[in-house]
Amino acid sequence: MTTSTDHDSATLWRDGRPVYDRGETVCVVGAGPSGLVAIKNLRECGFGVDCYERDTGVGGGWNWRHDRSPVYGSAHLISSKPFTQYPDFPMPDDWPDYPHHSQVLTYLERYADHFDLRPHIWFGTEVVKVEPADGMRWDVTTRSTGGYGAERTHRYAAVVVANGHNWSPSLPAYEGLDDFKGKVIHSSAYKDPAELRGKRVLVIGGGNTGCDIAVEAAQQATRCWHSTRRGYWYAPKYVFGRPADQFNDAVLRLRLPLRLRQWLLQRTLRLTVGDPRRFGMRRPDHKVFETHPIVNSQLIYQVGHGGVAPVPDVARFRSYSVELTDGTEVEPDLVIAATGYRPRFEFLAPEALAATAEGRPRLHLHAFSRRHPTLAVAGLLESDSGILPLVHWQTVAIARWLRLREAAPQRAGEFWAGSVAKEPDRRWTGAKVRDTPRHWFEVSHVDYLRALQKMIDGLAGAKA
């Protein structure tokens, strides 16, 4: 293992600064769930790996100690274990169907130790710049987190970006927000239900986080309004006594047409959850599977107990109240905006990821840069199930692609030209998913894994 970079002599230069050559080593940015599995699978394919992690531990967003972690005290998984664990490292079978976020961190820490990944990670080091260099290689400039110390640049054969996309809060620019005298926080700053006690709380956002916080507010706050843009399908965590996603996949397995599946699931939801209009919620303006799934058994229960008042979207903020789109006004002390996150890749030039003006990267399989065969992004996905299995196979494909490129450049070139470079942007979803930033990276796990399977098989075929 070669992780000590201090002894490498700098023979390369860039802008008057030395560049330390790391040979065939691959650089991984971030040691969250995507970074860890990237290290493991690259190592399994025989690559040396240097991973840079800005925080002091593994786990990324799942590590609640990290200042950028979005998890709150009560956060539990919304996909059951089989959909959440890495496919080659199961979670303990005596854990519950839907583990707590601290268990996910324990799981990731155990994964890192089991496969001995920590020696490859440079903790407390953040990546400042990733720039293309000669020979399709990459110069990665790093420094200590917080900007202390000198910057150093290393040259790598390839870069796998796994910096996550749920850490940079996105807050809509509401009219009059600055004049509002109450407290406004983004859900990423919400940690503990005690913050809600005795307050009148407005929760904005119908995503999974918004629903979770609304449920907690129902139990802790004096009043809770829950504002959503539209009506949603609220999937319960259990259907017919089984985790809902396991039931869904038992249906998926039958390979029924999408329309029939949508009808079947909507029927099931109508029977088990009921008509949302009866609870004063709006009727979904879309079919099921057309938005990111919301899994929450308790929201409707709390609405039924009067703890949560469902209200429409926010129109504008006033000094002491918030006006809603239906003209009514509510007077909260605390507004929690569960309005999601934006992906950010400050260390990369936008054209490297072929990003649009809005900042949406356009990548093959949401992972491979078409312009740079040695640049890949891991984990930039939103899925209708857990994300770890998808990232696992993504990084297997990345590692095998890089391996093929090194072993047989000619065939690798043909493979790239044939099945990556020209492949148009696709959505790996069966249903027609809403075209909002929330759904930029939305995939259906079966459609997406089928596409990855094709690529991995193609790589094996090109190798033979």
Binding site: E44, K81, P82, F83, P87, D88, F89, P90, P92, D93, D94, D113, H114, F115, D116, D245, Q246, F247, D249, A250, L252, R253, S385, W393, V396, V446, L449, R450, L452, Q453, I456, D457, A460
Partner: protein, 265 residues
């Protein structure tokens, strides 16, 4: 490599109390943990007899798991090979470091399947019973009375003569045979009729060890098994099927550990 795994997703195996026996070296030398998987009827006890302590004595953290319905583990009705595989993968993933899997007898068949769900550091198939009609033929010829009921879902009774060489004292061998339990009827049938295992993940080196005088696994089956992994079997003539309990138990375990120390290739 199969990415779409509806069975794993939609029908996860129910958990059950699991017996894992361990012997760990006094000083951690950084050697990989070894997880032993017993064959049908046997439990973790079969390895706890000699091999665990011996491996620990040579610096390897050694563990043995009893698949459900075996040894001290709980049981679930109609356990399948998939359920046994689940138990092995769970035990392997619970170890602090990437493990070596050692399967004996039909446990080797389970290990082959576990390799498709867990990237083991290396794997050893000891006297592997990989199933098929030839296995049944041999068993029927050697031990018709013990084998025939198994075809109808009864218990597969292995005899002392099948499992042990003459070097093992008769009373000792009888004691071991009395401790044998049974695999589920389903798993017994699956021994004959099962789909080929999915390819191993992580491309681990695989060693096959056995005895040409094994009365359960013919030498030709050992050669065939080893050839699948691009090698030749390591043979210990004169030993019975139960390599870990036979009078000369020390030789095969030493050979396995030597192979691991050389980097397992």
């Amino acid at each position: 490599m199969r990415l779409i795994r509806f069975e794993d997703w939609a029908k996860p195996i129910a958990p059950v109390r699991r017996e894992v026996r361990s012997a760990t070296p006094e000083l951690d030398e950084g050697k990989p943990p070894v997880l032993f998987v017993p064959g049908f009827g046997h439990g973790a006890w079969a390895f706890a007899e000699f091999w665990l302590e011996h491996a620990a004595g040579r610096g390897f953290p050694a563990h043995a798991v009893s698949p459900r319905g075996h040894g001290g583990s709980g049981d679930t009705p109609r356990a399948t090979l998939r359920a046994y595989t689940h138990d092995v993968v769970q035990a392997a993933a619970s170890l602090p470091r990437q493990a070596v899997l050692v399967g004996h007898g039909a446990g080797a068949l389970v290990v082959e399947r576990a390799l498709a769900r867990y990237p083991a550091r290396a794997a050893v198939l000891a006297a592997p019973v990989l199933g098929g009609w030839a296995t049944l033929g041999v068993a029927l010829r050697r031990n018709p009375a013990g084998t025939l009921p198994a075809i109808f879902g009864g218990r597969l009774r292995l005899s002392r003569r099948q499992l042990f060489s003459r070097a093992t004292p008769e009373a000792v061998a009888r004691g071991y045979v009395e401790r044998l339990g049974r695999a589920s009827a389903r798993a017994q049938w699956q021994l004959l009729l099962h789909r080929a295992p999915e390819p191993a993940v992580g491309d681990p080196p695989v060693l096959v060890v056995g005895s040409p005088d094994d009365r359960v696994v013919p030498a030709s089956a050992l050669t065939r098994a080893a050839r699948r992994y691009g090698g030749a079997p390591l043979l210990f003539p004169g030993m019975g099927h139960d390599l870990m309990l036979d009078a000369r138990w020390r030789e095969p375990i030493d050979a396995i550990l030597d192979w691991l120390e050389k980097g397992g290739s």
